[in-house]
């Protein structure tokens, strides 16, 4: 009973809780470059950690989080296609829109959010819409067990998890008052210039911290 990864549920670790969800669709004309493009008041008592899924079809058969297949063209410095990204502050969730695909696109978006680890435990968080009547566990899946949620700073830039394998990890950056998933990593042959967040079988490390104020992470027991 030592391998927690094999459990559908494990009372040693909480299942992660999604404290906000929203979805919608908009038409995005060609040559759109709107930052932000969509503003969604979230009504939460803190700045949430948001994840975006987007698609050009309502069934989300092809689900993207950031760029689409055409975004990076064969010419390195010329970007095409679409990208949509999400970020949040204390009041709103924002979705940036960028469409240089050559045609009007329909953006279908889904946003779901987690509570940051430094939010007050007594925060009054409304229940996620309708989940009380939909909450069904499926034994085909392992429910992601939250091992630890924390913060990396420019001073405390390492957390040791000691799981012995590279676990699933979600990360967000905070710059000023906004949180976002758009995190740059760079590997440069002058090693001291490499930077970003990397994960090992024992640690999560923010190498050469710069650009952002802090990194929020959520480590799951799941591999």
């Amino acid at each position: 009973m030592t391998d927690h990864r094999k459990f559908l549920l494990d009372s040693d670790y909480p299942m992660d809780k999604i404290i906000y969800m929203t979805s919608g669709s908009v038409s995005v004309p060609n040559t759109t470059s709107a930052f932000p493009g969509i503003t969604i008041p979230h009504g939460l008592p803190f700045t949430p950690l948001a994840i975006l899924q987007w698609s050009n079809t309502s069934d989300f058969a092809i689900t993207n989080e950031y760029r689409d297949a055409d975004y990076v063209s064969t010419v390195f410095t010329t970007f095409a296609g679409q990208y949509y990204s999400v970020y949040a502050n204390a009041t709103n969730i924002y979705i940036d829109k960028y469409n240089l695909s050559g045609a009007t696109k329909t953006l279908y978006y889904r946003v779901f959010c987690f509570q940051p680890s430094d939010a007050s435990e007594t925060s009054v968080v409304p229940s996620t819409e309708n989940q009380g009547s939909k909450f069904i566990l499926n034994t085909d899946y392992n429910y992601m067990k939250l091992f630890y949620a924390g913060i990396l700073t420019t001073v405390a830039n390492t957390y040791t998890h000691n799981l012995g394998y590279v676990p699933r990890v979600q990360i967000w950056e905070q710059t000023g008052t906004t949180t976002s998933r758009n995190i740059l990593g760079q590997e440069i042959s002058i090693a001291a210039q490499s930077s970003g967040v990397h994960i090992t079988d024992t640690q999560i490390v923010w190498l050469n911290p710069s650009t952002y104020d802090k990194i929020y992470y959520r480590i799951y027991v799941d591999e």
Binding site: F76, T122, M144, R181, I183, G185, A191, G196, H198
Partner: protein, 132 residues
């Protein structure tokens, strides 16, 4: 139910599930030359089993053993002659069950061309099930 962090689980909140899909996609950048101002694109693909699932991934570019958590990844390599080439790695769903890794390599000069070092980029992709 105003303190979700205190509960192991709660029917008031949705969650995410691990669908046990883990694949590794490799893309090799060959040791060929590239002209100043030119780009070259290399791709690799892998199949994941669940339609509509978002992906979580980490990237290893072989200058180190690090597995980077990033949705915007750049690499830069010096060539030893005051020149360098750089690249960008894009990971995306190219159809409902296929993940594609696209590596774009660019050389900006100042020499007329530069010879790249062969590199194999590996991306480990895992999918999970969203609450929708």
């Amino acid at each position: 139910m105003s303190r979700p962090a205190r509960y192991i689980t709660s029917s008031d909140y949705a969650t995410i599930a691990n669908d046990s899909n883990t694949i590794t996609i490799s893309v090799t950048i060959p040791a060929t030359s590239i002209a100043a101002g030119a780009s070259q694109v290399y791709t690799g693909t892998g199949t994941v089993g669940t339609i509509g699932s978002p992906i979580e991934y980490d990237i290893n570019y072989p200058l180190s053993t690090r597995r980077w958590k990033s949705n915007s990844f750049l690499f830069v390599e010096n060539t030893g002659t005051a020149s360098q080439y750089q690249g960008d790695i894009n990971v995306y769903k190219s159809d409902a069950t296929t993940v594609t890794v696209q590596v774009v390599v660019f050389y900006g000069g100042p020499s007329a061309s530069v010879t790249k070092t062969a590199r194999t980029v590996t991306v480990r992709v895992r999918t999970f099930l969203p609450p929708f």
